[in-house]
Amino acid sequence: MTELLKIENLKVNFRTFEGVTNVLNLESLSVAKGESFGLVGESGAGKTTLAYTILKLLPIPPAFVESGVINFEGENLLKKSEGEMQKIRGKKVSMIFQDPMSTLNPVFTTGQQITRVLQHNQGLHKAQAKKKAVELMNLVKLPDPENILSKYPHELSGGQRQRIIIALAFSCGAQFLIADEPTRNLDVTIQAGVLQLIAELIRETNVTVLFIGNNLELVSLICDRVGILHRGQLVELGSIKEVAKHPAHPYTLTLLRAIPKEKREKIDLTQIALKAEEKLAEKGCRYAGRCLKKEKICLEEEPALKHIGGTHYIACHL
């Protein structure tokens, strides 16, 4: 399998009043062509920052990329100019954003928004674009396309809006799709439908996916491989089966344990009642401050990702 996306030594920092904070520190991460890669972590772990770095949408300042390479089809995206990026965004790499409420422009009809993207990115005429927009509505299984295209976002439900955003993401034949928590804020019944749609479109178009989620269960439905991100670093990496069935890193275990599954008497949530420290430690494992099993070495040395069998890697001294 060939690698479509390859990230090396990526360091992204934010400048704040209190100094520079590192929010992303990835030694290496690659996503093969046709693969669905999931990224899981709590809020503030750097998931969305990674997505924005790939698309060069990061607000600079306060953010800045200290070092690193993001190779997409063998070309370093970080070296591209804004003009070149505009040709890549949407056409080669597209993104489904988190919040369907704020992604669409409230003052234009959904039809205007979709046809505009098609006209701009694919050079279609207005009539062609309209026809294509109707096809896209059918693709995402929205009934009565003409009617939906004439509506403003506020007239549609959350699920319908999210489907339109998915249609936009697939509109220009991108080979790489970043989905940033596409089902957040949706009801479970709606979420199930949207997930099935995404899975089906991925299968049909054979697109490569970076799927960002904050829970492993959801990601495991879509992805082949998953990485667990903690404070900007990958702590565990492996196939869904390996990570979900045999989690090895203490942080992954915590994430899994944090999901309430049963009646309160049966689970002990105090085990995970540890919150992240405000500041990053100078040295050592970034998880050490919250880890229940930490030892002396954890505070002194930063663990590197090491192979523990199959395609499974963890960054932990234990």
């Binding site: 009801d187 479970v188 019944t189 995970i272 009642a273």
Partner: protein, 321 residues
């Protein structure tokens, strides 16, 4: 048997939708005949899709909305027939934690003022005593005492929710409504908030009404569950019984559409066809019949009553009679 803290009788809340010159005014039937009783010290989980009337029901219970008809009794007193001083005293006992701590805390206020406001309104203590009371509350919810002189933006989502909880508990209420308390924070903070809420419940002898669409949260917290669909309860009863064996087709659909680690692929998820129908003209007969996978002829003609189907619960479905 414990004493009943809240009892709701035939509660109805309609919102008017203005008609045009030639059309008649219509009504959105947000809550349409809800009955339940809640015992002291229990946790009631309120489940349903968005638009089913959960929030409206809760707003009526807090007296933020007047009901169209029906009665709500809090410890025997009629909530909507109480005025003046008596109402003020009553309000102290029912508090709410809102869904989104990014919107529910005033960004220009110090934490002291946010948590202290209800105390000031009801107890009017001198400032030094107020500050101490706020500090005690912060400690109760696991925040540092120094936080009194900070602003909301200095806290993370989970910490803000703790502040909102501290405010709700400031007057030592008896009933606390939790409106999706963890839906806007991530899994780890969620676990912490949930365990904090259970701790506080035991410590302060609270009764909760938990509104959530996350079934796992409801399973973790609730003693009894009410499943709502278009303004009505479709299943109501003991939480464990409902989780073990959901009876109503809608409850089953809700449970089967949630992802879990056991599911191998998205195709294992159950998909309920269609959207929630409009609450202005709810479907005839059983309101769920337009989406029900097991629909029968009778369903579109006759509305099933909410009846006892076994020892622990009630359900409204023709299949079960």
């Amino acid at each position: 048997m414990n004493e009943t803290i809240l009892s709701v009788k035939d509660l109805v809340k309609y919102f008017p939708v203005r008609g045009g010159v030639f059309t008649k005014a219509q009504w959105v039937k947000a809550v349409d005949g809800v009955n339940f009783e809640l015992e002291k010290g229990r946790v009631l989980g309120l489940v349903g899709e968005s638009g089913c009337g959960k929030t409206t029901l809760v707003n009526v219970l807090l007296k933020l909305e007047e009901p169209t008809s029906g009665k709500v009794f809090f410890e025997g007193t009629d909530l909507f027939n109480t005025h003046g001083q008596q109402l003020r005293r009553l309000r102290k006992n029912i508090q709410i934690v809102f869904q989104d701590p990014f919107w529910s805390l005033n960004p220009r206020w110090l934490i002291r003022n946010i948590i202290g406001e209800p105390i000031q309104v009801h107890l009017k203590p001198p400032l030094s005593q107020l500050v101490k009371m706020v500090e005690d509350l912060l400690e109760l919810v696991g925040l540092p005492r120094e936080a009194v002189y900070q602003y909301p933006h200095e806290f993370s989502g989970g910490q803000r929710q703790r502040i909102a909880i501290a405010r709700a508990l400031a007057l030592r209420p008896k009933l606390v409504v939790l409106d999706e308390p963890t839906s806007s924070i991530d899994a780890l903070s969620q676990a912490q908030i949930l365990s904090l809420l259970m701790d506080l419940k035991n410590k302060m002898d609270l009764t909760y009404i938990l509104v959530s669409h996350d079934l796992r949260v409801v399973h973790y917290m609730a003693d009894e569950i009410a499943v709502m669909y278009l303004g009505k309860f479709v299943e109501y009863g003991d939480a464990e019984a409902i989780f073990q064996k959901p009876a109503h087709p809608y409850t089953q659909a809700l449970f089967k559409s949630a992802p879990s680690i056991g599911a191998e692929s998205v195709n294992d998820l159950f998909i309920l066809p269609g959207n929630v129908p409009s609450a202005i003209n709810p479907p005839s007969g059983c309101r769920f019949h337009t989406r029900c996978p097991q629909v029968m002829e009778i369903c579109s003609q006759k509305e099933p009553p909410l009846v006892k189907i076994d020892r622990d619960r009630l359900a409204a479905c023709h299949l079960l009679n």
